[in-house]
Every structure is written in structure tokens, then in C-alpha cells.
Subunit: 432 residues, 4 copies
């Protein structure tokens, strides 16, 4: 997490102020429940809410001595609340606060990421509908295959991010749990009703079994999900990078007035945003494995997960948030060149229609093997001429072909509209 | 995937026979739909089902020439079916077969993994109920913390694998899709109703937008989920390894008559199965990142994902299946030593009750800070005596403590049952 | 490791026969040293060499009972050698055999990989020299930048694999160690001179401190190095995939007669070998992290590394070997199209010379900022015309430019040879 | 990289001030070489050194407009230097500055890491010599095996970090290169002698072939090496965590006066530093794969590596530096309890001597199989008695044993010194 790739909305979640504020709320809500149960005086609970507060510098100072952040926080809280603070944290253990807080933070981060994906979907949908019928060449292996539409490309991206939306909601649910269960999770010194109360107030559900800590398979799933979403970001980014290559140039990232593509070459307009997204995806993916390694804590808990989460908690959520917002901006302003798409499609001498001729030959009674061979031998001539030859003309001049198909029959297979006839079907499936 | 860590049930899914059989079914079902639509003769569809078949050696032979496995398969099929076979695969592309087949295989693998987890849950539950109230020390940081029960340890494992069961079902749904959409997914040469028919017959749903391939974010999620589940396997395995250490020895893997722990040291009984599971978890986790890297295919598809999936498809599912079954066996026959658990718990001179005394002092009006200091100074003496000193006796001899609490009040905090009172609560939550 | 991506030379190393043969040699050499030291009878050592042998089926049978592979092997050996075999393995522990054997296998695998890289270097060098002065456009961000030569591209690949050669040699040295040090590495029951003898005979050096096992940081480095080399394979593969794209088509994988690019589209010639290499690279990279996770074994050893190595030992070496040999084949037969390179370079209306004009303006006294602005405003017109406009003509028509530079001065900057003048320098650096 | 796990010495390298200062030096040295070659006026080079400078806020401001950091820097530099600055950066491209700067930073980071390892080695050696002959039980699989010494444990750690020292030096050499080669690395607009001069001045060597960028296989190797070193940190950390477990307690992290182990349990002394190191190792390992994914840049370069390096450059070096220094502190002050080691070793009723009896039986003519069985049947009784039975007494009472060995012969195998006899050998190998 560095400022360059961060948005304030997300980094705010990870600021010390936010963390201590959540700690305060957890402790104060727990006090309410403890008071309700008659374990602590009602006035003490009231005092915490009324006079409660904390001082970050003071916490840092105390932590340097006691080497324990929750104890430092509680001491600072006591300095604000006074004597009644001695009831705070009663029967709780540090992890009750730390783990519940982390989950609150991850849930809030998930809410932002969910909103990010929703915004991205709106933009992709708009561009998809704009270009629903814009013909463009479909490519497999980087090689021209058959026509498709630019709208279909974007419909695929939409469907993929729609799945990511569902996944992120599941990831949010994974971590939306609360634990106030004491030193080894037995509720020995704290009533389970305290956990239920705090959970409800913090928008969480009680963790069925915690063992001082909330089990880390939940967090592993959360970070792994982000790794998958980042990979989808990469997929769309790579698509745009390909489309912007000099030789293709079917689409381009918006290039603002005043922008410079290269310090040395004034002619350059580079797809730097999507290249950047490609790198950011690598980072977010890289956090998945450490999160999985965090699962196998020793016995009821060890603290090895903590340093990992202090880093990747912010790193993964901030980076993915930034990437999603950047991608949304790229898609929103993407320059799309239908003219050029058409020109590229036409440059291979009609090769893209080879399958249809193959099928026509098969249907006319030629064996599949022979049909393939007949089309391939003509196609290869076109390929080797780099599109100077025309597949249609060559086929019409090949007696083995014309003995099965008339010139009209061959020509009828070189028809672009033929490929568009199910665009609606797919759009209905995706946007339906 | 090596025989040593494989079960036939799972490896069968990945055998060439299974793959070609699924290809055959996809092609044959597609023929039915094509016949129904009037695209191919009904007799051709019938001929495929009746005379259809394949010969693996022959396929290999043809593939060596054409370097394309689906074409090789179709040629072999044609050799069985005869002339009508020329209608097979009409309007389809290889990936229609390959990707739908892969998803059938992954769905079948998921079914086995789901059944594995269900069996593991049955075993864990049985052992948890056996030891619901067996006291054992809870440990944080590897250090004795406070008492818990062995049943609670296992209830946590149950809850974790119950989550994994839900995750694996979601992972199954991720990949339970079918694509029969042609060269770039436009249905140019094949009616979408063919896809719907094949999907229904193969137990899948149609992929909303495929682009020659089914999008790989689905598979990434599938493999990432297995990485998380493997990490849970590791967690339980590590727990058992710890419990079996010479100094702890609270549980032990079953050691069969005739087994040898070491070629050199006849006294050894080593937790080799759970150590093995720890290693297997590393492997399964390691397949998650390559699966994520597979997402960003170029344009409508490139084939870079294929080699990855040919390896990790079998490797991940076979290894995780083996690990889950092995873990189930370990848990089923685990030797559990309640006596030793009790002895270990008692060996630290009552330190495990320190928190309760702290709370009692606080409730008696001593500040939290002072309470902590008073208990800690006595606890450290016990710690340094390695349990030879008794915390109870030291506290009763400390005038700063006794000025706040009577001897009876102190003694009442050294009570094991106190820690058991919410075992039922947790069991209700988990086993409901 | 699957047959599809395997070469026999490498898989042979990992066959049971090879493993047991190495075990036999280790035990037999150890017997020689023990006899020399007078610990065992000389005849026993002689008997082992003379009558020694093993039977794989028998070993499997025994292992099923004793669940310990080395004990099973020793029993089979005893069945061949007879009574004298009781001296075999004396003072040794299983890992002495297993770990030394693994290192022998990894060293042999490294030797093949080193030879692979050497062969690849020969091929790259030949192609580099063929195309030393073949002009081609250099691209940054996928966008035309300035001219370079195809030879320079390959010189970079050469330099990169030359570094990989050095790294692989270092990786080989990392694992070229032997341990015959007993149950916890103290030589309690075996003289260190036995280790020295076996090491020498097996082409290894003694491990300075083993602790039953050879430390796994060595293996982690070995597998991490393969991950880096695989990434270089990917780099060159991706380069070729780009060059073969329909719109670029500056180079192409060799396409054999009879080969079919697509079952549906007879016109296709796809870069499937380099796409495959891209996937194989993901696999080999994926094995690096499990190898690193293997380092932190518990105390003197635990066996969690074993399952990982049984899988990734063959998987990583076989896959990387296959990839290197495949890449060598691709480079050897790569179709290279200098004509097309020239045509692509020329299609952007001379934009690739923008920097030289910028520099000329600066040298003529125009500020850098102004120079940049002047060139950029003309370059953008060419860019937007997709190369229909000529940068040279536009510049000659821009009075702000011509007030600083004469037409001749501008024209002199549009010179291809200018970019070739240091090709020799770089070739000297790389090929010396 | 977060302040909690950072040391200023390392973070300073990554501050904007450091980066811009290195940029400045690269540009200024390049000017010297250009002046020497007569390409720019000598006074301009002099002016840069004399009046050169930069203003970070101003650079940020300019970058917001031009979206290019090097151009922003050059503009700020020009504002300090004045008109002569127009010669700066002549013939260079941004990456010449950026990549050379990154390598300078990585080299400086490597120098700190090398010094860290050297300091760690000094401490480990001191503790190893202190405890050279301190007997302790060697454990395989977490189970008591045979005696070793605490010094030998540390000698192994020393040897491992000595290898890491060599690896880090190699990693430093990997990235100690400089590129000043222009837009696509052809030296079209800049003489190679400029690169040679800058390299020499910055303590680097010229990159043999750069292509706008320095090839990223170098950086991949650098980060992969750090992943291996971090794994060694984890190994030693895990050893200490095990030794500090309540039931073992053979060593302990230093616990400072005033420190609190738990907010709830005043008795706790937890190995939190080594647990923390375990987590930090996961992080550093996690950066290796993104670094490897950075290798396959498109053509002469794309910028996807940049975001990755902006994050993991600081993250990996700062975290590993912090971890090494923390580990050094832990080892320096580690509390080591030889008494307890002895007590633990003795608690298993002499089982640890089982191998020696096995060997004695073999040497007395009993077959290996029978010897194993005889010792195992007695050992299992001791095992099941949890050390209450004595292996020595049981053996002496077993007629099958005593028919081969006399009581004295058996007793002589229960001798601790026997295991120490080669400690010197190993220390000589390691510490020379």
C-alpha cells in the first residue's frame, strides 16, 4: 500500500484512528452487555460511552513499555474514563478486540470493493450496449478466427465481473463474524450473550467456535477471492493492451491533453494504465498464499498471522480497490475505433470465413477430412500472401471445391451478418 | 499426482478412457440436438450412439501426425461410425468439447471431495462427542493458557470443515457449466439450443458467454478453494503433530502392529501421516497461483491454460482427495490420552488460573494495573520454578493479595469445572 | 509430470529403478568405507557388491507391511546378499540414504538442464547472427518506439539464458551434498570418514552439518532457480506469440505439413508451442513456494518435505527440461519474416524518428519543453491518421520547426542506419 | 512495509529524497561523460553539479499534469539549473534513469542485508560456542531421537545463514548493473561510453543488453533469494517456538521487565518475536512469485513490472531486514536452560539409546530383523509407560537380549558422551 496506488476511502479503514475507534466501540458495547447482565455497574458502562476516548501518541508511548497494543489502548482509555474503566475488557482477551476489529475492517473494505465492482459493471454494460453490434474480429491464439462484436467482448467482461460481485459478497460473509469468548474461547469469564450483543451492534454474527482467535480459513478465503478478482482485472487490462498495440489499434486508453507518453519519444501513446493494472493484479494474487499459510496456527492460536495481516490487510484491499476504480475509469473513457476494427478484420483476404466453407462442403457430401484439406490448401495461400490473395477467389478457382459448391454457394458463406445472429441471445443471458 | 498419494476413485476421472468417453457423450448429445433441429440426419445421430466408440492407441497415433487431439479423436470415431460421422462436431470447435469435458471432470472430482468432507465431518463429530468434556489445556503461543476440552478442539475442526464443505459446493457450482458455442462463442454455426441440450444431459448449465473457451476465473476459484481446504487439513494435521510430541503426548496416530517408526531407532512412533498431510497441503496450495495466472487469456482465448490444467487438474484433486481420506483415517483411529492431558495441565503449578485471580482482584476493587502486577509477580515465580511452586500457595502468602481476597476466595478461582460451563453452548452452535 | 510434457532422459532419473540403484550404491560404498575402518568384515562389503540387488515388486510388498521404504529395500537386499547383509546400513539412518539419493537425482537433473540451456544458447546464437542486422521495430508498451534489429532481440535472449546457465550451475552446487551422519547428524554410530568416502564416490561433497536430513534451504534455492529460468522461457515464448499475431506476423512457429491449427477453422496457424511454454512456466514457478515452505522443518527434521519433493522433484525438473527442449526446437525452426518487419516499421508515417528530431531541436537551441511540444503536436496528427500522414512532411511544413532546423537537417534524422551503429558493441558484449 | 516492521536505515533507501538524489547523480554523471565526448558543453555539465537540485513538492505538482515522473523531475531540475539543463537527459530514456536507480537501491538494500546476516552469524557463533557441549535431545518428527548438543543445533543454523550470506552476495551481483542505452537499448542517441562512465561512478557494471529496461530475470532472482533467506529465518524461529512450549521450555525469548504476555493471563511468557518472524517469512516468500511474473515483459518492455516493484522493492527488503535484525536480537538474548534440556532428555526411560543396543545385538550376531524386534518390544513398553519404565532394566530382564549381550555390554550403550565425540568434527567443518 503506497499513496500512488491508494484511495483515501479505503486507506481510512486502516488508519490507527479507525482501528482504535472500532476497539472502543467493541469494548463499550461489551460493557453495555456486561452491565445488562449485572456483571459490571451500569454507571461504568455509561461512563465509558460518555468519557471514553483515546490518544494515539499516548498509546504508542505505553506500548513501547508494555509491548502489548491492547493493554496500551486500555491504559489510555482508563486515563480518559477514570476509575470506572477498571471494569472494561473484563473476562475478555486481547484477541476478542483485535479479531473482531479486523473483521469489521475487512467487512467495510468488502463493502467498498462490492460498490467498486457494481460501478464497474454499470460502465461495462454501457459500453457493451454502445457496441453491441460493432463487428470486430475474434481472435484465438492471437490469430484471427471468426467475427464477433465488441459488445460481446464486453458482455463477457460483464459476466465475469458479475461473478466476481457474487464472490466478493460471499467473501464478505466469510469474515463477518465476531468473537468475544475469552482466552481460549470457552466463555469461562464472559457470558456468550456479550458476544451476541457486540456482534449485533457491529453488524456481525457470532463466530460458532473461536479459540481466542477467529479461525483463519475465513480470511484465507477472503484473500484468495481477491486474488481471483485481481486476475479478472488483469484479463480485461491485457485485452486493452492488445487492442492498443500499434499494429492493432482498435481501442486506446484516453490520453489527456498535456500528458506525455515518453520522455524521449514525443510520438508515444502507451496503455500505461492497463499495464499498471496488470502489475497490480500480480501483487493482489501474491497475497493469497501467505493468507493460506496463516490458517495452520498452533493449538488454540499463535500470533504468526498477525504480521501478515497487518501488511496484506491494507495492501490487498487498498490495491484491489485502486485497481477496480482505475479499471472503471479506463473503461469509461476508452477510445473505441470501429473503423479500424473493420479494417483489421478485412485484411486477411477472407480467411475468417474458412469454417463456413468447410461446413458447406461437408453438407454438400464431401468428407470432413477432404473438406478440411480443400479449404486449408487455399487458406494457406492467402495466409502466405499476408492477405493479398482472396480466399473467395481462390476457392472459386479450385475445381475440387467448385465440383461440390457453386460460386453463389461459396459467396454466400462470406457474410458478416451471419455471425451476429445470436448477439441478442447472449445479451439476454448476460443482461437479461 | 503419483500412485503413492492417489486413490483410484479420483484418478479414474482423469484417465484417457474417461476423457474420451465424456467427449463421446458430448458429441453424441450434440448430434441428438442437431438432429432435432433438422441440421443433421436423425440416422446419423442414431448411428453415433449405436456404433460410436474410440480406440485410444489409434487416437495417439493420429495425434502424432495432426498434432491436434480432438481431430484425432474425431477421426477414430469416424472409423467406428462410418460415413455418418461426417456430421459429428458440426459447427462446434474443439474447445466446445474440451472445456465442457474438463468441467464434467471437475464436477465429478468435486462430488468426491464433497463426499470426502462429509465423511470426515462424521468422524470428527463422533470423536468430538466422545471427548466433549475431556479437559485439556488450551494453548496460545504454544504456552499453557486456560483449560478447554478436547471436544471443543474438535468442534472447532468440525466447524472449519463444515465451512469447507459449503465452499467446495460453491466451487463445484463455479465450474458446472457447458459451452457449445463455436469458434469464438457467437453460435455462428451452431444453435444455442444444442448447448442447452448438452448442458442438461451432462448435468451442467450453459455458460452465459463463452469465447471459444469457458472463462478461467471459474477454474481459478475452484483451485483457490482447494488451496483453502488444504490449509485446513494442515491445521488439524499440525495440531496432532503437536499433541504427539514426546513431551506432550496427549494424542497419537494409530501405530499398526508390524509398523516400524525408524530404520535406526526401534523406539520411535512418529506422526508421519500428519506430517505427510502438512506436505500435501503445501502442494495443493501451490496450484492456486498458476490457476489464477490462467485467467488472463489473450482475446477470445489462448491455449496457455491447457498445460497447466492437464497437470494441476489431476494433481490438485487427487492430492486433496487423498489428504482428506487420510485425515479421516487419522481422526478415526486417533489414540487420545485424557490422563496425560490432565497431567500436562497440572504441571504448571496452577498458572492456568491466573486470569481468574486477576478478575477477582479487580472485582474486589483493586485497579486493573495493580491486579495484573500482583498476579504476574507470583506467576513468574511459578514459571521460573517450572511448576514446582504453586500459584495458589504463593498468592495466599502474598499480603497485597490477601488484603483484597480471603484464602477461600482465592481457592475458589482454582476450579476446573468453571471452564466447562459453556461447552454445551458451543456444541449447540456447531452441531445444532 | 505427465507423458505429454516429459522426455525419457529426465523421467528415467525419477524411476524406482534409478532410485533403488542409487540407494544400493550408497549402501555399498558405505560398506567399503566401513570395511576399510574395520567396522564390518571386508567380505561383507564384497558380498554386497557381488550379490547385491533388489526386486521392486518385493520392496513394494514389504513396504505395505512395515510402512517404511528403506527398511523394505534393506530386507529385499538381504534376500539377495544373504547373511552378510546384516552389516549393511550400520550406524546409518534412512535419511542418510534418502537425502543423499535425492541430491544425486537433483544433480543429474541439473546436468540435463544445464545441457539443455547450452543447446538453447547455441541455437539462439545462430539465429541472432543470422539476423544481426535485420531491422525491426523496437516496441515499448506494445507501441512502436524506435528501430532495433532482430539480432539484438535474440542477443538479449542469449544473455538472459547465459545468466540462467550460470544460475543453474549454482543451483546444482547447492544440492551436490551428501549426508551419512546418523539419526540426528552426530556421527554417533558412524565415522565421518564413511560420509567422505560415499560423497566422493557419488560425486558430492559432505554436508557440513546435517541433522538426519540435509537442510532444505538448499532445495528451496534449487527450485526457486528453476522458477526464474521458467520465467525466462515464458519471456521468449511471449515474444514469439506477439510476433505471430495476425496483425504483426513478423515470425512464426514452424508449421509442419499435415498439422491442423483448428478443428473448425482450416485457415489457422497458431503459436501453440509458445502458448504451451507460457503455461509450463506457470507450473514450474508454482513449485517454488512449496519448496520454500519445506525449509522450516521441526527440530532436527520432520517428514513434511517428503511428499512435496516426491511430487515437485520430478514435476519441476521434467517440465522445465521439456520446456527448454521445446523452446530450442521453436527457436531452431522459427520462421522469420524480415520483409514484414520492414513493412510494419514503415507503417506509422515515420513516427519512430520523433526522438531524433526532438534532440536536433534541442541541439539547435530550442528548450527541451518546447522541442517536445513541437514534435508531439505533429506526431499526434500522424498517430491519429494511423500512419497516412508523414511526420517528415508535417515537420517540414511547421514554421516553428523550420525556424530552427532546415529541411535537410530534418530529413537527416529519418535514417535507419543511424540505429544500427552499436549493434556490434552489443554483440561483442554478449558473444564476446 | 509498515513502521512497525521497519528500520530507518532500510526505509531511507526507498524515500523519495533518496530516489531523486540517485536520479540526479545518474543525470549529472551522464552529463560529465557527454561533455567529455563533446556532445554537450562542459559548462552545462558543471552547471548541473553546481546548481543542480530538486524540489519534491514541485515534482509532485508537475507530475500531476504530465503524468510522467521523470519528465516532472527534469522540469524541476531545470528550474534549479537554468538554461543549461536543456542538455540533461540527452539521448537517454526515462528507464535509463529509473532502472539504474532501482538497481542502486537494490544494491544498497543488499549491502544492509549482507551486513545483517554477518551480524547474525557473529551472534549465532557465540551462542553455538557457549553451548558447544550442552547435551540436548535431538528430535525427529517431534519425537525424541538421540542426543545431540545445543551447539550443534546452532552450528546448523550458522551453516545455513552462511549459505544465505553467499546467496545474498550473488543476489546483489545480479542487480548491480546499469543501463544508459536509450529508447530501445540500441545506443542510437547515446554513446555506450556514457553508460560505462555512469556505471563506474554508481558502483555498477554495464548491462550487456538492455532494451529500454534492464531484464527482470535479475530482479526475480533477487527476490527469490530473499524468499529463501526468509524461509531460513522461519526455520530458526520455529525451532525457538518449539523450545519455548510449556512442556519443553528448553529456551525462551528474553522477557523484559515491564513486558506483559497477555492482557488477560498474567502468567504468560509467549515467544511472540519468533511467531512474528514466522509471519514475516510468509510475507517475504509471497513476493517471489510476483517478481517472477515480472520477467515476461512484452517486446522491448512494458511497464507492468513497475507497480510490483514500487511495492515489493521496499516491502521485501524492509521486512527481511527487520526480520534479520529481530532474529539477531532474539538469538543474542535467548535464555537457554541446559538443566531442563537434561531433564527432558532423561524423561523417556532411556529410549534414546535404543539404536545403540540394536547395533550391539547386530554386532553380536543377531540378525538385523531380530535385533530390531527385540529392542522394539521393550521400547514400546517404556513408551507406553511414558518413561516410568526403564529401557535398560527391561533389556537386562529380557532373556532373548541377555543371551546375546551381557548386562555390562548393555549398560555401556547407555552413555551420553558417546554421542558427543564428533562435535569437534562438525564445528571444524562449520567454523573452520
Amino acid at each position: 500500500m503506497i499513496p500512488r496506488y491508494s484511495r483515501k476511502e479505503m486507506t481510512d479503514i486502516w488508519e490507527p484512528e479507525s482501528r482504535f475507534q472500532i476497539w472502543f466501540e467493541i469494548e463499550a458495547h461489551a460493557m453495555d452487555a456486561l452491565a445488562e447482565l449485572g456483571v459490571v455497574p451500569a454507571e461504568a458502562a455509561k461512563a465509558v460511552w460518555e468519557r471514553g476516548g483515546f490518544d494515539i501518541d499516548r498509546i504508542d508511548e505505553i506500548e513501547r513499555e508494555v509491548k502489548h497494543d491492547v493493554i496500551a489502548f486500555l491504559t489510555s482509555l482508563q486515563e480518559h474514563v477514570g476509575d470506572e474503566a477498571r471494569f472494561v475488557h473484563q473476562g475478555m482477551t486481547s484477541s476478542d478486540v483485535l479479531d473482531t476489529c479486523l473483521n469489521v475492517q475487512l467487512v467495510r473494505a468488502a463493502d467498498i470493493l462490492i460498490a467498486d465492482i457494481e460501478k464497474l459493471l454499470v460502465v461495462i454494460r454501457r459500453r457493451a450496449e454502445e457496441h453491441k453490434y460493432t463487428p470486430t474480429i475474434g481472435r484465438s491464439h492471437g490469430i484471427h478466427a471468426e467475427p464477433t462484436t465488441f459488445g460481446l467482448k464486453l458482455a463477457q467482461a460483464y459476466a465475469e465481473f458479475d461473478r466476481n460481485l457474487a464472490r466478493m459478497k460471499l467473501a464478505r460473509a466469510e469474515v463477518a463474524t465476531c468473537a468475544i469468548s475469552g482466552a481460549v474461547g470457552t466463555f469461562a469469564n464472559i457470558d456468550p450473550r456479550v458476544e451476541e450483543h457486540v456482534a449485533r451492534k457491529m453488524g456481525l454474527t457470532p463466530e460458532p467456535v473461536s479459540t481466542q482467535v477467529i479461525p483463519r480459513d475465513r480470511h484465507a478465503m477472503y484473500f484468495a477471492t481477491m486474488g481471483v478478482i485481481a486476475s479478472s482485472v488483469e484479463r480485461l487490462a491485457v485485452e486493452i493492451r492488445h487492442l492498443q498495440r500499434t499494429e492493432v489499434l482498435e481501442a486506446e486508453e484516453y490520453f489527456s491533453p498535456g500528458q506525455k507518453g515518453s520522455s524521449a519519444m514525443p510520438h508515444k501513446r502507451n496503455p500505461i494504465l492497463t499495464e499498471n493494472l496488470t502489475g497490480l493484479a500480480r501483487l493482489v494474487r501474491g497475497y493469497a498464499v501467505p493468507a493460506m499459510e496463516n490458517v495452520a496456527l498452533w493449538h488454540e492460536r499463535d500470533i504468526s498471522h498477525s504480521s501478515v495481516e497487518r501488511m496484506i490487510g491494507p495492501d490487498a484491499t487498498v490495491t484491489l480497490d485502486f485497481a477496480l476504480v482505475r479499471l472503471t475509469g479506463v473503461m469509461d473513457k476508452l477510445l473505441i475505433y470501429p473503423e479500424r476494427m473493420r479494417r483489421n478484420m478485412d485484411r486477411m483476404g477472407g480467411l475468417i470465413h474458412s469454417q463456413r466453407v468447410l461446413l458447406a462442403l461437408t453438407q454438400a457430401g464431401v468428407s470432413r477430412e477432404d473438406s478440411y484439406r480443400l479449404v486449408q490448401r487455399n487458406a494457406m495461400k492467402v495466409w502466405e500472401s499476408d492477405g493479398a490473395e482472396s480466399l473467395l477467389e481462390l476457392l472459386k478457382a479450385d475445381p475440387d471445391v467448385t465440383s461440390a459448391l457453386s460460386a453463389e454457394e461459396i459467396e454466400s458463406r462470406f457474410d458478416l451478418d451471419y455471425h451476429m445472429k445470436h448477439v441478442d441471445t447472449t445479451f439476454d443471458r448476460v443482461f437479461g
